[in-house]
Symmetry: D2
Subunit: 293 residues, 4 copies
């Protein structure tokens, strides 16, 4: 149920309603900024992510940078942080291109238990250097709840990967964090499942969720995944959350990143770009989109 | 096998080689404009569609209009021509928007035998009026070989629909036509299958083939089909044929046409736009993209 | 609309109603054997295929053999008839195994225009020998309308392949044939689309339609197609038409034919088995399921 | 790398090799029962799951019951344990049918945060009664690592659900358990991804892994998932692990469970059956397959 306060309601009025709601054993979500006057019974499966609740688009703020506002945000970096030399070389290139967010896995979810699983804790020293020297914000993936503790200590944004989009314990843990959460779409997730995964995070109190389209699995073999760009306008019709697109993971092929990332006020909030090659060749620079706008 | 003539070869030289090839019982394809000197054994499954054969992009000319050249081509119109009033109203709107091609089904492939199957021959009178009054070129779908005869008489471009992408008898018949062929991707066609369908047309001697991405069938339910925009750069790497995108059929939803059609030199040759609504509401205007470039 | 005659209605009574229906410009379908008394407004998209129309299962009779009755029908043979030696060797093996139907393509729909397209008319001499010597019924695929004429002259059953499941002109032509039609499911066809394709055939007057599940296209790569066995009970709930399963084309791998064909009154009417190898190795025997029931 | 000991090797010999392997910083997996003599460099992406490592099929023993042996194992029960009355009624029915395993979720992974998430710890009292009174083994799903601790205390088998098939931290934790692990295939998992998920469990030392085919996500809408029965023979060619099939979750429809579960030595080791209805109607009995063999 949605209780919309009058524009003249004071913080104290809101608090009083919240206390009342909690007194009857429910959880209250207070969303400042909503201006609609009606009382709304939300009948859709999702509640907190909807434009009904928050008609204005959410702008996620990370220090002096924003995602979902007028700024075109770019998240770029290698798939995994492999060593200091590789990560710093990529970070320099990321900063030079004007991007504000550095993405690099500390823990890498890998299909096989026998392949490189990430540097783990040794990676934090490298990210600290990148943050300090280049002023980039650190985005890294949490593969379990204990990872979230460490990202809260050392990073700026928690990524939930496609494979964990319905790891509900992890979503709940991220929902109790003060850091923004980048929620990638699952490999075969419907829009409803994806939005309800965001709802899990928001239901715990963390409203800074950024959705990331990264392609879905289909019969098509000319790309690693099939980038479903129509999910962006579809989400825009339903939700106030920012949506970003990952054309590098979404296609798996470096030469496709630029054509699929190009947009001119096309409705995307940001792009997440990582090196699109599947291999792991230490010092190759990130495949980065250049933006002229 | 590819036999590349010297730049200095005369038409007579080419003819002599063609005769030789035919004398040994093979079919010769002479592609003017190719300038490479080597002799190439083509080992890929497709031959005529490749950049190996024709390194320059094919520009399809339809009277004074082009597809695949510097002009941004737009094909627009209703799903089916339902009656004079509807078709003319849409055509006026199509012309006003600057598009040069009018698309409207005379014969409509329908999932059910009990739904409207198109006006059939009564439609030609309407298209003649549209052609005459608005100067638009007529693009319509052939659902069988006998349709091709009539489109050759009354239309400007033969569309092969998704359901018939592997109707090889129809492809061969279109390959013997002098009209350009708009070949839509099949609902579950791989890139290779689609390109080989184009190869069927070209192997009969018709080199004016335009490929049209119109979405593929996946588990996703927020759109009618999943528009696979990555097929465009993928084809560009392989083929000299123009590729166009159909964002209206590819999404099935009017409000998605504009965001998915927007591009700024993003590598697409054209867009095919039809009314995106599923219903059949006579005089509703086509949902048309406005272009500013 | 469904008009159900009283059990006491004579053939003359039925004729009178049929004439009345036709007098108002509609087509009448008389389905002998239906015994229900009510008048039914059929609101489903399909009408003639439904159990509403014909509560008893359809048994298709081909001379002394049946499909859809108590007999377990097996259709077996090579992908294409390549030459006399290959076809006769396979036919002998088919007959010895107890199967009554020989399947072999005379015209082979091929993804590439440059691969073997079938023997064409030269094949009929071979099928005549197989029919005469082994008493097998000949099942072959029609890839266009002119093929149907020839199958009517030389064969016993018309196969419509997956690629042509929505070639509506071909479906209509098969619907005007006196031969039974084996309708394979399209590569990405929903149940509704498949049943409506059968409806196209029946709407023209041919009620002897056999549905064939042959796998659908998915992301899975361990088989050529994903055999969707659940389509069989799903169709049984809706339709009176017999359903058969093609485990060889459905998997693309010889060793999977037996496990997926095994059933013990599991609800399938028959199996269509062809040599599952992708290659074309002349005289290799067909991979045939042995039945003990 | 695979080091195969001579048949005459004593336990001490094996220990010595294990110590050597560990001395160089690697993990040793000792698989008793293997009899091949060669030394094998395993080049496939999976190692421990392969028939190369263990040519005999794995038989998982749970007290006096087995999965993967000659016994036909059936796992049955409700989707979630909702209350004592419902669970006991179903358990009685499960036991009467001859099944030995009771499946019921204590923690239920749900798409929405607002729907019933399982009884949690209150459920253990109920499973204790079912175990005691009916002699059934308890199979329940772990949605995070802390769940595994509790299942080890109160249950008999750890289920890893489709949504967590690539929750690698959870797989590793299950791999350190002494309980057998039922690993369901992910919604869009390839065979290789599924087998490598099993490899994650085995690489931690737990060799009692049971694979469960439960359908994959496709465009088809007549079932909740598309049951990919061909995965069973495909896995049999590669792995020694038992494979079971879940026809209730795989189709989502009660009437399909029986036709898809029927088999007669068809190569499946067991069936997992749960109530196929999507709703949550307390005391409705489980939809259970009756076995006559």
């Amino acid at each position: 149920m949605l209780i919309v306060m009058k524009p003249s309601a004071t913080a104290g009025d809101v608090d009083a309603v919240v206390k009342l709601v909690e007194a009857i054993g429910l959880r209250a979500h207070s969303m400042p900024g909503a201006t609609r006057m009606e009382v709304i019974r939300v009948t859709k499966p999702y509640k907190l992510i909807t434009l009904d609740l928050c008609p204005d688009k959410t702008v996620v703020r990370i220090a002096d940078a924003t995602i979902g506002g007028s700024e075109l945000a770019i998240i770029a970096g290698p798939c995994a942080i492999e060593n200091r030399q590789q990560a710093v070389a990529v970070a320099e290139c990321v900063q030079r291109s004007g991007a504000r967010f550095f993405r690099g896995c500390i823990w890498k979810p890998r299909t096989s238990p026998y392949t490189f699983q990430g540097l783990g804790d040794k990676g934090w020293e490298i990210t600290a250097e990148i943050r300090g020297e280049f002023g980039l914000k650190i985005v890294t993936e949490a593969v379990d709840e204990s990872n979230v503790d460490l990202i809260e200590k050392h990073g700026d944004m928690i990524q939930i990967g496609a494979r964990n989009m319905q790891n509900f314990s992890l979503l709940k843990r991220a929902g109790r964090s003060r850091l923004p959460v980048l929620l990638k779409r699952g490999m075969a997730a419907t829009l409803e499942e994806w939005l309800l995964a965001a709802e899990y995070i928001m239901a715990e109190g963390n409203y800074n969720v950024i959705l990331c389209e990264r392609g879905v699995r289909t019969f098509a073999q000319h790309t690693r995944n099939t980038l479903d760009l129509a999910s962006v306008p579809a989400i825009r019709r339903i939700s106030h959350l920012p949506v970003i697109v990952d054309p590098s993971h979404g296609t798996g092929t470096a030469y496709m990143v630029t054509p699929l990332a190009r947009r001119q006020r096309a409705g995307f909030d940001a792009f997440a770009v990582r090196r699109a090659s599947r291999g792991s060749s230490g010092n190759s620079p990130v495949c980065l989109v250049k933006w002229s706008c």
